[in-house]
């Protein structure tokens, strides 16, 4: 007896050949060619930005979806920016962060009153701090990859999600950021368990189609943007 898998695949093969699909050998080479080419399909002209233009567009787009942004000069200024955010929001001086080595250089020693815990969130944290691998200017989207240093729970459970982003990692179009994420996954090409594309704080329009912020994820997303130049990190 054939498995459900084989039956489904046979059904599909037979049905599409009755349509306009080419024979199996050509389908294999056609799909292979498409997968190997990884060609951009159609990148909007407005998304084709880089450098200062990409930073400006990212800032504008992120703010339009209620992400707030704070510019700092270097990674060593991050702890101070975190502290000022907490003060401005009337929050206790306490955060939880991943063990990303970049954050070891954030200048915590200058914030002796801040309680900094490291590791995944169990839901009791008010504020989480993560590192974005990149960002997409065209939509103001942050890209965060899961890994031992960047637990996914930090992106969703705390009320306030603070994200460190290097200005040099902002790209124009979405496909550029995703292609880089796949390329960085190594020769086997296996992506991290989770790649999160985050565009603003969580929200819902399920009651009378009125948009309310702070659904199940964070109520606020705050980007700490480091430098306008790659050498700043």
């Amino acid at each position: 007896m054939s498995s459900a898998r084989d039956i489904i695949l046979q059904r599909i093969g037979k049905a599409i050949e009755e349509g306009r699909a080419p024979p199996r050998s050509e389908r294999e080479s056609g799909a292979e060619a498409c997968l190997a080419a990884k060609e951009n399909v159609l990148v909007p002209a407005g998304a084709n930005v880089s450098g200062d233009e990409a930073i400006a567009l990212f800032t504008q787009k992120a703010q339009s979806v209620q992400t707030t942004i704070r510019h700092v000069a270097a990674i060593s200024d991050v702890a101070e920016a975190v502290s000022q955010y907490l003060t401005a929001k009337n929050l206790p001086q306490a955060i939880r962060r991943g063990s990303d080595p970049l954050l070891d250089r954030a200048g915590w020693e200058a914030q002796p009153l801040m309680e900094v815990t490291i590791g995944p969130s169990d839901g009791s944290d008010r504020v989480g701090l993560s590192v974005a691998v990149s960002a997409v200017a065209e939509t103001g989207t942050l890209i965060l990859s899961s890994g031992p240093d960047n637990p996914t729970t930090l992106n969703f459970l705390p009320d306030h999600h603070l994200v460190v982003l290097s200005a040099a990692r902002i790209v124009g179009p979405l496909e550029e950021a995703l292609r880089a994420t796949v390329a960085e996954a190594g020769p086997a090409g296996i992506l991290p368990r989770i790649v999160n594309l985050i565009t603003g704080p969580s929200r819902s329009g399920d009651v009378e189609q009125q948009i309310v912020l702070g659904a199940h994820g964070p109520r606020a997303v705050h980007v700490i943007l480091i430098g306008d130049h790659p050498t700043a990190v």
């Binding site: 699909a21 056609g30 796949v182 329009g205």
Partner: protein
């Protein structure tokens, strides 16, 4: 799939008389149409991207077996498991089996229309497993024992006072005097209640908006973050996806994502687009230990290679129903099927049989707005017309309608007879219209005249007027 589409006419009449529903349906027009139009207009390449996306999806469907095999191989390579389900029964059994192996008592669910299609919650419940919907809209309708009335806004048929009453009824642990009359307060309370449920769940079940062949990833697109908590906190993540959700590469995904949110809610990008690949890695400190993808056919392969193949390009944005005058008038429940609106009128007969769902492709004015806004350019009116033809071929329409159609068809094939008949009819109707030029009653047309007057013809047919104007043009 059980459908109640045979009762469409009775259900529509009820819906039109339901004041609460009519008030809520106003939010569909107000909440979606303007936002989509603005988002589409703000992207100069929007129309070209639609064409490109159609090309991607047509290519995928013509190479679907190869891409599914590639997807499966890549899921396996990342440490995940792929299960194949021919129909709803197999899909339910596979998911139940995974839940049993995980000793699951509670599962949380991200929003998934496919789990509605296979009636998963009832099946889990019958086997002692509680399924908790976590999307706010889905959570609300689960409390009410209802089904979604819209594919992306499942509770769009409700008003806030109805939700408030449900929350007061079910959330008994809260202060009775609390204020709960705003969307903010309702959302806040649901957030608090559901937070605990995520942690209690043994298995998290989500759908998938896309399956990326090149990486073996499933992709969900949400605004609330509930799908992410659902698939991150439990020990096991199951993603249920239908076989046509494949995109080959990240570039293809990027292209279609530019259409999805704009067409659905008018956002440029939904808040969360989450790409999931395999289970947690050895060093990871959170995430599920098991990752299962259940690939469901359930009638889709039977559409491949047929005139209905184009419907498999659908990305479930909901734009067709948001712009449909019939949906605006009767809401989603009247359709009596999982997928309402124009897309439902085409999919439901395919999945449940035209004998069960014959009313649905007839519930259209053929105004064409659905096709005009469909990001994947699915020719919905044409496909509805094809279902009508099939219905006629199989003899499912009432006798009077069939006889009327035959008569009209005979006349249409004999132009002289047709014109002569039209001249006579126009004169008679014009005479009947009297000085008001309106008909308040007309035999065989009570469906129209019961509700409003029919304007009477002027007395000449179009062909007569045309011939006269042509004559006048000649020197």
């Amino acid at each position: 799939m059980k459908v109640h589409s045979a009762e469409f006419i009775e259900r529509s009449a009820e819906a039109i008389g339901d004041k609460q529903l009519q008030r809520a349906l106003g939010n569909v027009r107000a909440g979606f149409i303007g936002k989509r139009a603005k988002a589409a207009a703000a992207l100069p390449e929007f129309e070209a991207i639609r064409d490109a996306a159609v090309g991607i999806k047509n290519h995928v469907l013509d190479h679907l077996d190869v891409y599914l095999e590639r997807f499966e191989a890549n899921v396996n390579a990342a440490g995940g498991h792929v299960h194949w389900a021919r129909d709803a029964d197999e899909g339910r059994a596979i998911i139940l089996d995974i839940c049993h192996k995980a000793d699951a008592r509670t599962v949380t669910k991200g929003k998934s229309m496919l789990t509605e299609e296979i009636e998963l919650n009832a099946h889990l419940d019958a086997h002692g497993i509680e399924a908790v919907e976590t999307d706010l809209g889905e959570y609300i309708i689960q409390l009410r024992g209802e089904t979604p009335s819209h594919i992306i806004a499942p509770a769009v048929h409700l008003n806030r006072d109805q939700v408030e009453a449900d929350f007061r009824r079910v959330h008994t642990g809260f202060d009775k005097d609390r204020i709960l009359d705003t969307p903010e307060s309702l959302l806040g309370e649901a957030r608090e209640v559901l937070r605990q449920r995520y942690f209690e769940a043994d298995v998290g079940i989500t759908g998938a908006n896309f399956l990326v062949a090149e990486t073996g990833s499933t992709v969900i697109v949400t605004n609330e973050g509930n799908g992410d908590l659902t698939q991150t906190l439990p020990r096991v993540h199951i993603a249920l996806a239908s076989i046509e959700k494949i995109v080959p590469t990240m570039e293809d995904l990027s292209t279609i994502l530019r259409l999805l949110a704009r067409s659905a809610t008018g956002q440029e990008m939904s808040v969360y687009t989450t790409i999931s690949t395999g289970p947690r890695r050895n060093e990871d400190q959170d995430g599920p230990e098991e990752f299962h993808v259940v690939l469901l056919d359930n009638g889709r392969s039977a559409l491949l290679g047929t005139e209905f193949q184009e419907v498999l390009r659908c990305i479930r944005c909901g734009a067709c129903m948001n712009h449909c005058p019939v949906f605006h008038a009767v809401g989603g429940h009247a359709y009596g099927a999982v997928y309402p609106g124009p897309i439902g009128a085409v999919i439901t007969p395919a999945l449940a049989g035209i004998d069960q769902a014959g009313h649905l492709p007839n519930a259209s004015t053929f105004c064409g707005r659905c096709e005009a806004v469909c990001p994947m350019r699915i020719p919905l009116p044409k496909l509805m017309r094809q279902w009508r033809e099939k219905e006629y071929e199989k003899g499912y329409q009432p006798g009077a309608m069939r006889r009327g159609m035959s008569l009209w068809a005979f006349a249409a094939r004999h132009p002289r007879l047709y014109r002569f008949g039209a001249i006579i009819a126009a004169r008679i109707l014009s005479g009947l219209g009297g000085t008001r030029h309106r008909l308040s009653r007309l035999p065989l047309a009570s469906g129209w005249t019961d509700a409003r007057d029919l304007p009477a013809p002027e007395g000449r047919t179009f062909m007569q007027a045309y011939a006269k104007s042509e004559k006048a043009k000649r020197p």
